[in-house]
Structure formats: C-alpha cells, structure tokens
C-alpha cells in the first residue's frame, strides 16, 4: 500500500470522466465532489476507466450503489480489472421525472426510455400507466436528449428534472421514484492511491478459501479492533466455479497506525486481497 497524493488537499478542479452526457446524475455527483470540474463524457463505464488509465482524465466519477437496487456490479468488476482506487464518494439523492417534448400529454406516450436502474426505481409509476413499452437506454440524460432530438410526441424519458431545461423538454410528472429516499452512491476513482484529509471510510476486496470459518476469521481481524463494517457483498469471480470476491466498506482510516500494518499482512496472505482506498463521503440532496 503506497499512498501517492498528487495534491496536498483534495483538488477543487480537475478533468473528470463521467459516463453519459450533460444532465446525467454523474454530472451532479461530479459537481458536488469538485468545485470546478472539467467533465468529459463517455458512452460507457469501461470507457471512463480507460480514459483515466490512458491519462485523458485524472479522475472518474461512477455510480457504485443504489439504496433501492443495490450495487452496480459492472463497476465492481471494472475496479478489479483496472486496479484503481477510490479517492472520494458522494451520496446523491435521486429524483426522477417523466420528460417529453413540449405540449405532449400523458395518454399520448407509448414508449418510455431510460437507464435500467431508473426504470426499476420508477416501476410503480410505470405500472400504473397502460400499454407502455419500456426501452432501456445507456443513460438517463442520453434518453432525454434522444427524446428531444427525435421530436417524437409518443415517447418520453425518465431522467433528472434538470434535463428538461437542458434538452428543451417538459416535465409531465415529477418525483416518480417508488421511494422518496432514493440515493445513489458515486465513487471518484483514480489510478494511484490518494488519501486526503478526513478520509474515514476504507474499501477493500478479498477472497477467502472455501473452508470452515474462513470469512469469519477474516472479518474478526477488523471486529477485534473495534472497526464498524458498513457494507459487505459478494460477486462471483469470473471463470471460477462459484468462488467469490467480497467487497467491504468500513469506518476506518489509515491514520490509525494499526490499519496499515493489518493491510500489509493481508496483502501478503495467499488469498487475494485488494485495498481499494481510504476516502470521505459527502451527501448531496439534489
């Protein structure tokens, strides 16, 4: 574990890679994380990682988990593939609206476009509409842009209400998500391990042998030190027969001298272990 801070404090401005286009939730998370971000938009998550890897962007902002629908598994897989680190996270309140071209009324809509997560988060609202075809799109804002550019009066997009002004659309219905407490957690990733002030969360990925008490034994190392585990989940390791990678987040800091020692031990252990970063999290009520 080698901290390689590029700045003395977390930077206010940098070139950031986001998936989607203007008006994407990633943009709002990015603007909350950096005071003056210079955002470049990419068509998919892998491209965001690639842009950071190739040095086109310094950081990337990606959704990692939604409070209603769980982890974005693709991001977890890409984190292992690229060996990147989390330098900050932001919890963003998600408000969805149904957007259509000006003058369009609800009964005219035959198709709704949005990202699969947004569609799932608004399933109750959509369920109440009759004869609607649901079409998955790469991104909520990209769906809004497409509806606007098409000029069609029989389609709508589910996206953030700010996309209405951005793409010259009208909001037919607002706050259409199933649960008012809908948050998505975004992570800010970098190629190097950077740890800034007030970093109080640690993420790691690990696997343990298929033997009795292996997971318990691993986690007990943290419990013994009074560390609170805030998240644990598993993902199958591609190509292995039901072997799992565990992802955890815990309330800890590498400023506690016990932590770096423990991590060094774990890194040397035969099982796979990856320290994913030490960072702080902010909450944004969008």
């Amino acid at each position: 574990m080698k901290v390689n801070n590029k700045y003395t404090t977390f930077p206010q401005s940098a070139t950031i890679a986001c998936q989607g286009t203007q008006g994407a939730y990633s943009q709002f998370a990015c603007e909350a994380t950096f005071q003056k971000p210079n955002i470049m938009y990419f068509e998919n998550f892998n491209a965001v990682f690639n842009a950071v890897d190739k040095g086109m962007c310094e950081y990337g902002i990606l959704p990692i988990e939604n409070s209603l629908h769980g982890s974005v598994s693709e991001i977890l897989d890409l984190m292992s593939k690229y060996n990147f680190y989390i330098v900050r996270s932001a919890k963003l309140k998600i408000n969805h609206s149904l957007l259509a071209n000006h003058g369009v009324i609800s009964p005219q809509i035959k198709e709704i476009y949005s990202h699969e997560q947004a569609l799932a988060q608004c399933s109750e609202f959509i369920g109440n509409l009759k004869n609607i075809k649901i079409v998955e799109f790469s991104n909520t804002a990209a769906a809004a842009r497409m509806v606007s550019e098409s000029g069609r009066r029989d389609i709508a997009a589910i996206a953030n209400p700010r996309c209405a002004q951005l793409y010259n659309l009208s909001a037919i219905s607002g706050d259409i998500q199933n649960n008012a407490n809908n948050y998505t957690k975004f992570i800010c990733i970098s190629k190097d391990l950077q740890v800034y002030d007030n970093a109080n969360l640690i993420s790691m990925a690990f696997s343990v042998a298929h033997k009795q008490g292996a997971l318990y034994e691993f986690l007990s190392k943290f419990a013994e030190r009074g560390i609170n585990l805030t998240k644990i989940e598993s993902r199958p390791i591609p190509g292995k027969d039901f072997e799992y990678m565990f992802y955890t987040e815990m309330e800890a800091s590498i400023n506690n001298p016990e932590i770096p020692t423990l991590i060094s031990h774990l890194e040397e252990a035969p099982e796979s272990f990856k320290f994913l970063g030490n960072y702080s999290q902010l909450t944004v009520d969008n």
Partner: protein, 334 residues
C-alpha cells in the same frame, strides 16, 4: 486522423478533447460541413487510441488517414476549396483562364498581349520575370523590371497577375502580384515552400517534371502546414520516354487529384506538350478531365519569342480556343 462529431456538439466537450490532443502535440482543425462537424488531427497520431476517442459522448466516428498529406486531403475537407484572387474565384465550379507569354520581354509586348487575352476572356495574366532556364546562357528574364511591367499591365487591363518566384529573397518584389507561382523545378524546395506558407497570397504549385502525385500533394502540405491554405495545384507534364512532345501531359492526374484533394487543379498544356498545335486539343481534354482552370502561353510573335516560342499560341488562336472552352464548360455542366 479525422474525428466526426455528433450533431450540434457541445463546445465545451469539443474544447476538452482539443486540449487533450494539444497536450500530445497534435493540432486540430474544425471543419463545419453541411450536415456534420469534422475535427482533423495533424501531428503524430500513432499514439492516439481510436477506441478511447470513439467512446467519447461527442464523437460519432473516428477514421485514420493513411495518406501522409492531411490538410490537403479531401477526407479533411469534403467540399472543393475555392481560392479567391480578388474577385476571381478558382475551384468548386469556378473555372479560371490564365494566359500570357512565357516571359515578359517589354512593356509593349506584355501590355499588348494582356489586352488581347483580356478581350478573349482570360481573367489572369501570366508572364515570367525570373526564368529558370536549363542553360545559363539563355534569357534569364527581366527580373524586377519584369514584375513592374506586369503590374503596369494589370493596371491597364484589370487582369490579375501571376508570376514565378525562384527564391525567397525575391518575395518583397511580389507585393502586387496576385498569385505566386512555384515552378516545377522548385516544387521540392521545401524551405521556399515553408516561407510561402507564412504569407496568405494564393500559391500556384506546379508539379515537378519527375514527381509523383503524392509528392505534389506533400509539397502542397508544406505550404498549408505553415498556415497558407490558398494552394492551387498545376499539372504541366512529366518526363517520360516519349520524345514527340516536350513532356507527357498527365491528364489522368486531374481526376486522381480531384478525388484525393479539395484543392483546385489547373492544367498547363503549353509546357505539357511543348508544341503550339497540340495546345488546343489538350486544353479541351483538360477541361473534360475536370480541371478547374488552364494556364496557356500566348505570344503575339512566337517566332521571335525570347523563351518557349514553339509552344506559344497566337492571340487569335487563343480567342477561338477560349470560346471553345466556354462552350465545352456549358456542355459539361448540363
């Protein structure tokens, strides 16, 4: 490399991409087309990962340009370039007729011929002041005095003027010259080309007598890379085993150039064949091949011309030819 941007690209996103490329010493040029915006990349693009560029939200598609010429490449600039010489336009459907003697010999000669060719429909007057001759004992041109006489003829007739530069120190004398000609022998004088790239005057670049089409385009690239995009290409015959004509006029280069570059292409049938009788048919053939103009040697007294009298046609023949050219252009436009 050429990057086709999505419709109405966000200017900030485009700027970000340009900034990143600038960091890799790659300069960019935005070409707004009728339906799409294209970004041309100039520099060493071998390190640019196509997949990364393609994954950007503002990007529609990416295409590598295999050819070594970029600014001159039609892939960079889909529509024909139109070069403006005052109110005379060359290229993109504007046909230019350039005529005059091989060299300026006297006031009387140049003004007389200028009046004749102007009356027959020429828009631009040619006349050599600095002459690159095979023999050092042959007439070398009136030099500075020759340019002064061309300028007089310009004032007298309203014709634009074109004359050849041989080395860069002569440039101050070309102030009132409308088009600077780079002769066949100087086509690969790269230092001269670079210097001419720093001015904004239209440059007529003649193909060297043993140069390929690609070499001609690379020479145009030299001028354009310095900032002067007003380049007109000229085919004037190449050296082959054939001795019946002075050179072999490579008219097949006209459609080839028209497909590979957006720059206007002019044909010089006089040097191409070197024999006055063949100038007329080859002029018409050049028009039919798609040339954007012709540069023809016209002399009032070819038998006693100080230079290249054999290939010069008389003003009355030029008048008849000019009319035929106009007829042919009308037929081709139908």
């Amino acid at each position: 490399m050429v990057i086709v941007l999505k419709e109405n690209p966000n200017p900030e996103q485009v700027k970000n991409l340009e900034r990143w490329l600038a960091g890799m010493n790659i300069t960019t040029r935005i070409i707004e087309g009728m339906s799409s915006t294209v970004m041309g990349l100039i520099g060493d693009t071998s390190r640019v990962e196509i997949e990364l560029i393609r994954s950007l939200d503002v990007v529609e598609s990416v295409q590598r340009i295999q050819e070594p010429y970029k600014r001159a490449n039609r892939k960079f600039h889909k529509s024909d370039s139109v070069i403006s010489v005052g109110d005379v336009k060359i290229g993109g459907g504007h046909f230019a007729l350039i005529a005059g003697p091989c060299s300026v010999e006297s006031r009387e000669q140049i003004i007389g011929i200028a009046k004749d060719v102007a009356a027959s429909g020429a828009q631009i007057l040619r006349g050599g002041a600095f002459k690159p001759r095979t023999s050092p004992y042959a007439f070398q041109g009136l030099r500075g005095k020759g340019i002064e006489l061309l300028v007089e003829a310009k004032k007298e007739t309203g014709l634009k003027i074109i004359t050849e530069i041989m080395e860069i120190s002569q440039l101050p004398l070309f102030e009132e010259v409308d088009i600077i000609q780079v002769g066949a022998r100087n086509m690969q004088n790269f230092e001269l080309l670079k210097e001419l790239g720093k001015c904004q005057k239209p440059i007529l670049l003649k193909r060297g007598l043993s140069n390929t089409i690609q070499e001609l385009l690379m020479s145009a690239e030299y001028i354009m890379s310095e900032g002067n995009e007003n380049v007109i290409l000229c085919e004037r015959g190449i050296r082959t085993f054939e001795t019946a004509t002075r050179n072999t006029l490579d008219l097949s280069c006209v459609p080839v150039l028209n497909s590979q570059t957006h720059l206007p292409v002019i044909v010089d049938p006089s040097h191409g064949v070197g024999i006055a009788d063949y100038v007329r048919p080859m002029s018409l053939a050049a028009v039919a091949a798609g040339a954007d103009g012709l540069i023809i040697e016209v002399h009032n007294d070819p038998e006693n011309a100080l230079c290249d009298g054999l290939q010069s046609i008389k003003p009355d023949i030029f008048a008849e030819l000019s009319a035929k050219i106009n007829e042919l252009i009308l037929i081709l436009r139908k």
